[in-house]
């Protein structure tokens, strides 16, 4: 897990995002335990209540679950859930910005398509 906080997004959202990212990247495998509120709180000097608020977002999204007295665990199927969510957001998160920047640069639809093609072949 790599925590790299910026100061402009609410911290509890960043906590949720970072753990989600780690589950997505399979740094925390399904069925595995994620660091506790206290651990995260101590390590990054974040108020435990804030960390908990971020964790609860993931609990509500059924990506992690609380096992009483033990800690938080990645729910089986969590990674697939994140993939699906991200696919749904792909248009809003990436395509919209891509097109808007292309317009500003007077890149035509065809040129953009070619660039995407290039991206696929070179990577």
């Amino acid at each position: 897990m790599q925590f790299n906080f910026n100061s402009t997004e609410p911290i509890y959202l960043q906590v949720a995002d970072q753990i989600e990212e780690a589950i997505f990247a399979q740094s925390f495998a399904e069925g595995e335990q994620v660091p506790s509120t206290t651990e995260i709180s101590k390590e990054f000097h974040i108020n435990p209540a804030t960390v908990l608020k971020g964790m609860n977002i993931l609990v509500d999204a059924q990506l992690i679950e609380k096992r009483r007295g033990v800690g938080m665990f990645v729910v089986p199927g969590a990674q697939a859930k994140i993939v699906e969510k991200r696919r749904n957001q792909f248009y809003d998160d990436y395509v919209k910005n891509l097109v808007s920047e292309a317009r500003k640069l007077h890149i035509t639809k065809q040129e953009l398509a070619q660039l995407i093609e290039r991206g696929f072949t070179t990577q």
């Binding site: 402009t8 911290i11 000097h45």
Partner: protein
């Protein structure tokens, strides 16, 4: 279950420092108390811990007065800039006498912390540097068994490494034994994530009182060409402005107009606590903006 301040007014030589101030401090929370130099932060903390008697108003803990009351004052601890220790006393002895005053003083943890901070407890208090005096007082504050700990400028004179160590120790100690901390500091960025709730003291009043996340949810920076920004922020609670060439940044505290179209040229970003603080407390008629 809380500390309640009611209608606290403090005047010095006819000048108001605090004016009809009301405040609730709840158990087991970490608070930040922010304010410009001379805003009255120390005065407020001194009133709560009965080191200073307000011109009027009352301070209570769980409904019982804090004035001249060992029972309630014993549950409070104020660490402040004032050095009340005898210069010639050795630190070990000071810890022992503190342990006598406060029954459940955590002597083991104090020794542990001293080792972490490289503080030799055989030294005399008077021989310590400014930074180490602060460190010693912090160690005491973290080890007394009080329910409400007030830290007035807890990182005064501490280098960056020691500040890190202190924030770490604070969280450690808080998770181990949750209790209330009220931290008054100017290093806002360093404690912004550490505190759950913030008080901003300005113009003799508490002008901001809320959970950090709620407050930052209503703080925005709107940037773009002058006219677009002015148009978009018209009627909003603009608390400050920056200009560079034809670009304006308007700082807004409060709700945005959701149905107002956002011009393509304008970007909306969130403010961090420090930026919000600076804009809210910048001299000119700041209080009229606050709601």
């Amino acid at each position: 279950m809380s500390i309640q301040l009611q209608a606290i007014t403090q005047q010095f030589h006819g000048q108001s420092v605090l004016d009809n101030l009301n405040l609730t401090i709840e158990p087991k929370k970490i608070y930040g108390l922010l304010g410009r130099n001379g805003a009255g932060k120390s005065t407020l903390l001194n009133i709560i811990s009965d080191r200073l008697f307000p011109t009027s108003g009352t301070a209570t803990l769980d409904g019982e007065t804090l004035h001249d009351n060992d029972h309630t004052l014993g549950r409070l601890y104020l660490m402040s800039e004032v050095n009340m220790y005898n210069d010639r006393s050795r630190l070990k002895r000071l810890l022992n006498s503190t342990a006598l005053f406060y029954g459940a003083f955590d002597r083991d943890y104090a020794t542990q912390l001293a080792a972490k901070f490289d503080l030799n407890l055989n030294q005399r208090f008077g021989k310590l540097s400014t930074g180490y005096r602060t460190i010693f007082k912090l160690i005491v504050a973290l080890c007394v068994p009080a329910d409400y700990i007030f830290l007035d400028e807890p990182v005064l004179g501490l280098d960056a490494n020691h500040r890190e160590l202190f924030y770490q120790a604070l969280i450690d100690s808080y998770t181990e034994r949750p209790r209330t901390f009220v931290i008054s500091t100017h290093l806002i960025e360093e404690i912004a994530n550490l505190i759950e709730h913030v008080f901003i003291l300005d113009q003799h009043q508490i002008i901001v009182n809320g959970s950090v996340s709620d407050i930052l949810d209503r703080a925005y920076m709107i940037t773009g060409p002058d006219t677009d920004v002015t148009g978009y922020t018209a009627g909003l609670n603009v608390i400050g402005q920056d200009h560079l060439g034809g670009i304006t940044a308007n700082y807004v505290y409060g709700a945005l107009e959701d149905d107002r179209p956002i011009p393509d040229t304008v970007t909306i970003e969130r403010l961090d606590l420090q930026k919000l603080f600076v804009n809210l407390t910048n001299a000119k008629e700041a209080t009229t903006h606050v709601n």
